[in-house]
Symmetry: C2
Subunit: 556 residues, 2 copies
C-alpha cells in the first residue's frame, strides 16, 4: 500500500500530464512577485485570445458567443490556455479537463449553428469550479490526500444546472485541506499564491478561484463560503464575489466538510471579474428552479422587482451604514482609506452614510467557533485516518507550528450544541431588531439599506498570517447572521498613502497582533483592498443592485 506522500506525488504527476505540453511556459524566477502580466508576456496567446481574455464583463462574452462573433471553442481555448498559464505561476488548479471542455464547446457551437438558438443563458461560457463541485467521472479531492482517486458518480446539482444553462466547465480550483481555512494550502496540490505578489496569500478557502480569475484565466467561477471563503479570496485578489444567503443556491451533491452540521452552513456562490458576472450567475441558476432539485433550496425565483430596489425606495437615495471597526481588531490604514473613499463616493452620488455599530460580534464569533469545532476534529479524522495524512494545524506548510484553535477537540454533546445554537438564534434576532431600529437614524423613512464593511482588517497577508477568528471575524459574523454579502474591489495598498498609524489602546491581544502585522507597509505593496456590502436575508437581488450603485460611485 502506498503512503500518503506517494499518493499525493502520483496525483501531482497525473495533474502535470493533464496539461497540454505546448501550453507549458518558461516560468519566471521565484523572486518575480507580480505575475499578472505573465500571460501577455508568454507569447502563448494569440491576439484574439488576448482580446477574449481581456474581457471582464461576462455579458460582453455572452453576447459575442450568442451572436456567433466568437465560437465557444475559441472562448474556451483562450481561457483554458490562460488558466494553464495562471496555474504555472500561482498553482491555482486541481482537475484540468480541457479536452472534455472543448468537445462540449464544439457541441454548443454546433447547436447554435443548427438551431439558431443558444442552449441557455450561459451558452458557451467557460466556468471554473472550486474543487468541491463534483463532476461525474472526475476525482473530488477537496484538499485531502485520502480522497485522491475518489471518482464522482454524478455531477453536483449546481454543475448540472450550469451545464444546463450552456456553461462549459474546464478546470477545478484549489482549496485548503478541510476547507476551514482562509488561505489555500493542502498536502496534495500545495499552496496557491496571490498573483499580484506571490509572497502574499490568495485567501481561502476558494483561493484557487481567486487567483485564477485575477489572472483572467476565468471570468466566472464557483466558490463556497462558510466563514468568508468566497469573499476572502475575492477581496484578496481584487475581484467580485457574492456570498448568498443559505439555501438560495443548490449545494446538493457537492463535497464538503462538516456535513450534517445544519446551523451555520457553507453556501455556494459566484466569484467573477465583474459584478455583471455575479448577477448573471444568480439569474441563470435561479432560472432553473433549483428548489426542484435540492430539498434545501428556497422556492424563490430571481426577482427583477427586488433588483429594481422596490424595498429600498427604488435606489434613488439609499442610506448606507459603514462598519469602521468590528470592536475586535482595528482595520489597517489601507482598509480605513477604502472605507473613507467609499463614503465620499456615496455622499457625492447623493446617498446618505451613517455609522454601523457592531453588536455582540465577539459573542457571535464565539458561537460560530463552538459550532464549527463541535465535531470538527472527528469529522476531519474520519477522512484523514484512511491514510494517516496529518491534519494541518496552520497554513504555513510543513514548517508550521501547531495552532489547533480551529480544529477543536473531542465532540461536544448534542445538548450542549443545541444550547449554543439557541444562543446564536437569539443573537440573530437581536441583530435583526437593531437593524430595523436604524429607521430612526436615516432620513429615508427606511432602516439602513445596507452595511458596508471591511472584508478583513488587512489586505492579503504573508502566508500563514490570515487567521480565522481574528482576520476572518469581519466575514464570518455575516455567515452566522446569514446575511448575503457582495465583495467589490476599492483600491490597492499604497505604502506612501497608507502609513502605519500610531499605536492605539489595544482592545485585545488579537488587536495588538493585528496592529503589529502592519509594521511595514511595503510588505503589502499593490495588494488589493476590497469591501463588502451586506444586506438582509434572501435579498441577493437588492445586494447585487446596491453593490452596482456603490461600484459605479467609486468609478466616477
Amino acid at each position: 500500500m502506498s503512503t500518503w506522500q506517494e499518493i499525493a506525488a502520483d496525483k501531482r504527476a497525473r495533474q502535470t500530464e493533464s496539461i497540454p505540453k505546448d501550453w507549458l511556459i518558461a516560468k519566471p524566477p521565484d523572486d518575480v512577485l507580480d505575475v499578472t502580466t505573465v500571460p501577455e508576456d508568454s507569447g502563448l496567446l494569440s491576439d484574439l485570445e488576448l482580446e477574449i481574455t481581456s474581457v471582464v464583463d461576462v455579458s460582453v462574452l455572452l453576447n459575442n458567443l450568442a451572436t456567433g462573433k466568437w465560437s465557444s471553442v475559441a472562448v474556451v481555448t483562450a481561457f483554458a490556455k490562460r488558466a494553464i498559464i495562471a496555474h504555472q505561476v500561482t498553482n491555482c488548479l486541481t482537475e484540468i479537463f480541457i479536452d472534455k471542455a472543448l468537445e462540449r464547446a464544439a457541441w454548443l457551437d454546433e447547436q447554435l449553428k443548427t438551431t439558431g438558438k443558444v442552449v441557455g443563458p450561459l451558452h458557451g461560457l467557460p466556468v471554473s469550479l472550486k474543487d468541491q463541485i463534483s463532476l461525474q467521472g472526475l476525482e473530488t479531492i477537496m484538499g485531502y490526500v485520502s480522497w485522491v482517486g475518489r471518482i464522482a458518480e454524478k455531477n453536483a446539482v449546481l454543475a448540472d444546472i450550469l451545464i444546463d444553462c450552456g456553461a462549459v466547465p474546464y478546470v477545478r480550483t484549489n482549496v485548503p485541506q478541510t476547507l476551514m481555512w482562509p488561505e489555500t494550502y493542502n498536502l496534495v496540490f500545495g499552496r496557491t499564491v496571490n498573483p499580484r505578489n506571490r509572497t502574499l496569500t490568495s485567501g481561502g478557502s476558494s483561493g484557487g478561484e481567486g487567483a485564477l480569475i485575477a489572472m483572467h484565466g476565468s471570468v466566472l467561477g464557483v466558490g463556497s463560503d462558510i466563514g468568508g471563503s468566497i469573499r476572502i479570496p475575492a477581496a484578496m485578489n481584487g475581484i467580485y464575489g457574492l456570498r448568498p444567503t443559505c439555501n438560495r443556491v443548490p449545494y446538493s451533491g457537492a463535497a464538503n466538510s462538516l456535513e450534517g452540521q445544519d446551523s451555520i452552513r457553507s453556501v455556494l456562490g459566484p466569484l467573477s471579474s465583474s459584478l455583471n458576472g455575479v448577477k448573471t450567475f444568480m439569474k441563470a441558476v435561479l432560472s432553473k428552479k433549483p428548489w426542484l432539485l435540492d430539498p434545501l433550496v428556497v422556492r424563490k425565483p430571481w426577482s427583477e422587482e427586488e433588483y429594481s430596489l422596490v424595498d429600498h425606495g427604488g435606489g434613488k437615495k439609499l442610506c448606507f451604514a459603514i462598519l469602521w471597526d468590528n470592536g475586535i481588531v482595528k482595520p489597517h490604514p489601507p482598509v480605513k482609506r477604502a472605507l473613507e473613499m467609499t463614503k465620499a463616493a456615496l455622499l457625492k452620488a447623493g446617498h446618505e452614510v451613517v455609522d454601523w455599530k457592531s453588536y455582540k460580534y465577539a459573542e457571535i464569533i464565539e458561537c460560530t467557533r463552538d459550532i464549527w469545532t463541535a465535531a470538527g476534529l472527528e469529522d476531519y479524522q474520519a477522512v484523514t485516518s484512511q491514510l494517516g495524512e496529518p491534519i494541518l494545524e496552520s497554513m504555513l506548510g510543513a514548517e508550521a507550528e501547531a495552532t489547533a484553535e480551529y480544529v477543536g477537540q473531542e465532540s461536544i454533546s448534542a445538548f450542549r450544541l443545541f444550547q449554543i445554537q439557541k444562543k446564536l438564534l437569539a443573537l440573530r434576532k437581536e441583530s435583526l431588531d437593531l437593524w430595523q431600529a436604524t429607521q430612526s437614524q436615516t432620513s429615508t423613512g427606511r432602516p439602513v439599506d445596507a452595511i458596508i464593511s471591511p472584508v478583513a482588517a488587512h489586505a492579503p497577508t504573508p502566508h500563514g498570517k490570515y487567521t480565522y477568528f481574528r482576520s476572518a471575524a469581519y466575514t464570518l459574523v455575516f455567515n452566522a447572521l446569514d446575511y448575503p454579502a457582495c465583495v467589490f474591489p476599492v483600491t490597492a495598498v499604497d505604502p506612501q498613502l497608507d502609513m502605519p498609524s500610531p499605536a492605539h489602546a489595544f482592545l485585545s491581544e488579537d488587536d495588538k497582533l493585528m496592529y503589529e502585522l502592519y509594521d511595514d507597509p511595503s510588505t503589502f505593496k499593490n495588494a488589493p483592498v476590497a469591501l463588502q456590502l451586506v444586506g438582509r436575508g434572501l435579498e441577493e437581488e437588492a445586494v447585487v443592485a446596491m453593490t452596482e450603485i456603490v461600484d459605479a460611485a467609486l468609478k466616477v
Copy 2:
C-alpha cells in the same frame, strides 16, 4: 417551598377564578360522551351569539366585522362564552383573559367607527393561541409545572403580527408536557378530550386548539407542528389545519421544547373550522413581512400567482397521488374508505389519481427519532428538575406504565448527530428526485401535483393509544421531508360501513398492534376521519388551493 403538586393545584384554582362566574354551566355527567351540543343546550348563549358562533367561514365573520354588522365586542363575547363552555366539557384551555380581549375589541370597534377603516385583515376576529405563543404579562406554562408563574416579558412575534392585523387573542389552549406527544395531557391542567367522544383523544400536541375549534369556541387558532402536532388534532377533531414549511411563519418569541435543535424544526400554523380560515391566516401573516421580525423567516410574500396554481397547470387537471399505506402500519377501514371516497370524488371532478409509493419511510422515521431524542431527556430535565415534577412517559396519566421510547437517553455526541442529519438530508434529496420522476406516471406533463395521505392509520384513539413512532408515522415523515401539508375532514367512522378487515400478513409488530386496535369499531363511532394534502417545500399557496379543490370535490 411548595411542591409541584401544590403549585399545579394553585394554578388550576387561578384558572377557575379567571372564568366569569355567570358563564359556568351545569356540566353533563361523565358518561355523556358527545358534548358538541352542550353550547346550544346550555342556554347561556343568546340567539345572536349562537348565530355568530355557528359561522365557520372566517371570511363571513371578517366581512360582518368590517361592515359593522357585528361589533368585535359581540363576536369576541360570543366566542369567549362558547370557549368557556367548551372548556368545561373538554378541558381545552390554559390561560383565559376575556376582560383584556373585550377591552381590545372595544378599541377596535371604536377605531372602525372613527376612521371608517379596519385596523388590518383580521379586524376584530377572536383568535385562540396554543400555550406556547407568549403574550406579555401572561404566564407561558406549556405543560410544565416548573413554568407556572413564568410571566412573558413580551409577545411572540406571531402574536404581535396577529394583533397588528386586528386579531383579538382571548384564550390559550392546552398542550402535553414537553409538546412531544400526539395527545394532550400534562400535570398542570390535565387532559383535553375529544368533544365528539370524550373517551377518545383530541390529539396533540395542539389538542386544546383542536377541541376548542371543534366546539365552535374559536374559528381560527394557532398551533405548532414538529411531527404532526397541528395536523393530528385537526384530523382528530374534524377541522382544517396547515403545517407550513419551516421558516414561512415566524416562531421567534414562542416557547418551545428542544430549542436549538435546528434540523427538524417545529413550525407554527393555523387550525380552523374552514379552509378559508387557513388561507386568511397565511395571507394576513405574510402581509406583515415577518422576515423583518424573525431572522429565520423566508423573504417570500403570499403569492396570488402560486395560489392560482401557475406551477400546476392552472389547476384545471391535476394529478394526485394517493398514499394507501406507508409500509409501516396499514390504515384502519374508515381511513381506507376516506381515501377511496377522495379518489372517487377527484376522478369525478376530472382529475387524475395515481398511487404514491412510500420511499424509505422507516429510515426517515428512524432519523427523526434519533434527532429528537439526541438531547431530549436532558432538555426536558433542564426544565422539570426545577421542581422535581416527573417527566411523563406516556399519555395515560398517573396510572401510566413507563414507555420511554420518545424521551431518549443520554445526549449523543455532536458528531453522531451530524451523521444522522447528513443521512436525513440524503433521504430528502432522494425523495425529491423521486417526486420529480413521477412526471413519467402522469398525463399532465408535470410530476404529481400533490400527495393525498392518511393523517394516521386510525381515527381518534382511546386515550394513551396514539403513539408517536407508530401512529404519527404518517405525519412526521412530512416534517422530516419539510413538505407543507393541509388536513381536511372527509368522513366519520361508521361501524356498519367500516367493519374490521380480516387479518393480513403483518409487516411488523407495530402493524399487528395497529390492526388489533380496531378490533371493535364501535369504540370509534362517529369519530372524525381526515386526510392530508402534501405539497413540496414552500408551496403553501398551492397546497391551500389544491386542498380547496379536493374539499370542493368531496362536497359535491
